[in-house]
Symmetry: C2
Subunit: 149 residues, 2 copies
């Protein structure tokens, strides 16, 4: 049971940007910091842009920054935006309705309630809340980010 690396990386990008609020960050810099695939990160950042979390300024002096202050970004909203589905079991997928316990399955209702409880905890927290617990990270300065490569 896990969230996708796509969502995981999206959350890390947002944390990174929130911790470097006074400058533009770059994809290579973030990929190097977390030691994750640049190609994957390009897709993650593209989606974060489409969903209104990250803005990209192109050209020299450009880069990535948050589109909203961390207090305005709910973690639940990010997870809902990045995960492709919340089909806790097969029958949550409208295309997979073959289980013979349907349509009156108490298990499906229970799993839906559990999934909602999971997302409600994430909905109640903002990116700013997450930063409070993330205090000891040494982020690279813009000037020294080449050293990480």
């Amino acid at each position: 049971m896990q969230i996708t690396s796509h969502t995981d990386y999206a959350l890390r990008v947002l944390i990174y940007l929130a911790m470097t609020p006074n400058r533009q960050a770059t994809i290579p810099e973030i990929a190097d910091f977390f030691d994750i695939s640049r190609n994957h990160l390009v897709k993650v950042v593209h989606q974060l842009g489409n969903k209104g979390f990250v803005k990209t300024i192109r050209g020299k002096g450009g880069g990535l920054s948050l589109q909203r202050p961390p207090e305005m970004i709910r973690i639940g909203e990010v997870v809902r935006s990045m995960e492709t589905h919340f089909n806790w079991v097969e029958c949550f997928d409208p295309a997979q309705q073959r289980c013979r316990l349907l349509p009156n399955c108490g298990l499906k209702h229970l799993l839906a309630r559990a999934g909602n409880a999971y997302l409600q905890v994430l909905d109640a927290a903002t990116l700013a809340d997450v930063l409070i617990g993330t205090v000891a990270v040494e982020l690279p300065l813009k000037e020294t980010s080449d050293n990480l490569k």
Copy 2:
């Protein structure tokens, strides 16, 4: 985001057995009812036996039944027993501690809280509770189960 088919099938087996309390069921019968792999179901039932949910009587007249009454089987216990891990993101795996936001990452704590909220909903429900919402299922009679093959 989903639970494994292994756990999904385990829960379906338990529901099936709880709805046929007065007789022994068989793996082919359950596999046919749900139209799922017999081989996979063998592994699921084996694990359900090891974990104390299902008992198997071998030989003629034998079969599968619940080891405990449905009121004594918590859905959370089943899910915890059948899922291989609850590594919501990479860093929950003790062998994957490479994220540079560790050890003081607020996101990890938040995801752990959300995961606990998910499991707590499942812990609060028993197999008997699930059955209350599962009323309209037409189960095969033992005598006619061959017709389903």
